[in-house]
Symmetry: C2
């Protein structure tokens, strides 16, 4: 094993690649988290706003991303956060995709827009659970898990139940942790669930990459596929947002300036895919002092008028990790 001299700079053999920026832009419409799509390809697969990074046009990734979004969707972005950079867009290129050497940088962005109000009616939002339906556990466990996913994964597990992977977990254990029903279920494992389905060859993207299982036709489609690796980016965004919400007040980046506590809870439930306990949610919001009453009331809620609240920006400097605990089931 040779070692280069101390001054060696590993720049020899530099390979030119293309860097693509993709945004998962999330907004809330009533009870549903929505994802902005920039259109669909010839096969009808949804595509996220995206485009190549040109360092001559934009100094940073984030500036390039904002430019692409402005051009393709005309939605104002608030919070923006880099997610992950994928060097492998699946194992094989698509038929109409000549250059396979694309590096894909995924971003999460949040928008205050309420897609249901249609203020910018032209921006086409879609329900994010249309793409990852097994992630919505708000009202009972979704049917697709018991009906399609677990039967197919049972066969996949049976082929090799006991060999541990790099993290020491067997197929049996991974399936139980990710799609099971007990305390070990974690809403933050959204990416792991998608990756497991990909690995088992049960999502359309696996077929595209030549890694489909024979079971894929038996089970039928699991959520709507997206172009390229966009559904993987969406799953990454969901996982990150669910985790981040618990220790940073990012949820307010999707709320209007004034909101009721119930609306806030509905949003937290929509993102995390779980029902929350009303009293404890309220107590936590109150004691953590992340919101303050505006003094106004809303009587558009059906029953007793609800007090309106606003986000207290001061918490950003008062506490290092002001988030919304989502630990309690309703």
């Amino acid at each position: 094993m040779t070692r280069p001299p101390p001054d060696a700079r590993p720049r020899a053999g530099a390979i030119p690649l293309e860097v693509n920026l993709t945004a998962a832009i999330v907004a809330i419409a009533g009870d549903d988290p929505m994802i902005l799509v920039a259109g669909a390809d010839a096969a009808g697969q949804a595509i996220l706003p995206s485009g190549p990074f040109d360092p001559l046009a934009h100094r940073t990734f984030e500036m390039g991303l904002r430019a692409w979004v402005r051009e393709q969707a005309d939605v104002p972005l608030g919070y923006v956060e880099q997610l992950y950079t994928f060097g492998d867009r699946g194992r094989q290129a698509q038929a109409d995709d000549r250059d396979p050497h694309v590096v894909s940088v995924g971003y999460l962005a949040l928008s205050h827009l309420d897609p249901a109000q249609g203020g910018l009616d032209s921006a086409p939002f879609r329900r994010w659970y249309a793409f990852l339906p097994w992630e919505d556990r708000r009202d009972s466990k979704p049917a697709v898990i018991e009906g399609k996913i677990l039967p197919a994964l049972a066969k996949w597990t049976a082929r090799d139940p006991g060999t541990p992977n790099a993290y020491g977990l067997t197929r049996t254990e991974r399936v139980r942790m990710l799609f099971g029903d007990d305390q070990r279920y974690s809403d933050e494992a959204a990416l792991d669930r998608y990756q497991l389905l990909y690995e088992a060859g049960l999502v359309e993207e696996a077929r595209r990459d030549g890694r489909a299982s024979p079971l894929i036709d038996e089970a039928g489609p699991l959520g709507e596929p997206m172009r390229n690796d966009h559904r993987r980016i969406l799953a990454t965004a969901m996982a990150r947002l669910r985790a981040k919400m618990k220790y940073r007040p990012v949820i307010f980046e999707m709320m209007p300036p004034a909101f009721t506590l119930t609306a806030l809870q509905r949003t937290a439930e929509a993102i995390s895919g779980r029902r929350l306990h009303k009293q404890n949610f309220r107590r936590f919001v109150e004691t953590s002092a992340v919101v303050e009453p505006t003094g106004e009331f809303s009587n558009r809620t059906g029953g007793r008028p609800a007090a309106l609240f606003r986000f207290r920006r001061e918490v950003l400097q008062e506490r290092p990790a002001p988030g919304l605990r989502v630990g309690v089931r309703g």
Copy 2:
């Protein structure tokens, strides 16, 4: 504002870039976290193991990274995790750096090697607090903060104390949060601290990029600089490792197979840069069941022989977030 037709694919004008992979490889030597350096450049600045990504040679980033590390350092890597992708390596290229269009993907890796034992004596590890000395608060607040950083930042703050940045925080507030002494201090904000010093023009890297403050010579060097953006990657690695340690059992990736509880605590303290409370640390380790006694004892510790423990791999499947809480000061 025009919108492309639904089927449009934003691939026109694809720009070739070079993708560079860089690894911050951490190991523990007694009481000190160490970082593997692959050498130094002509100016004496340390460089991390790194190299360009070639998709023809390696299917994934991680495989490429492991290949570069194998070639430059000969250290076995356990845990590997992607950190962040920087599209801007500082605002300006270095003098001897002809192609400015490099995208830098940073990685965190952990190694079981004890650099103090010198099993592989050729691998040159350095103390990571040599590069970021203000991060070590184990034994009182480091002198460099009171002596150099705060005086220089006071002048920087005085030039614009009250204008809020994108997150609504003023210079005054940021300095107090990041370098202050109260409860708001967070060990996980290591990257924010480095970025603040860069923004204020107080680190060598800022001078290199043409953004040095006149104060930089007055204050004198703040930690050892590294080549390119390597110190930024190190700060990112430190922040991520400190955060991750609290909810994932990554610390065991740096421990030998059997260890005493005191050694485990010393490691947690070394990484987090803070002293921990002995009894509470032990109780947490015990109740969380992340370790189990081997039955052996070590009498090389000076006093009463210490029981040896090993990591219980089973916790990975028992609990979704088994980490080491580091919330308690000693």
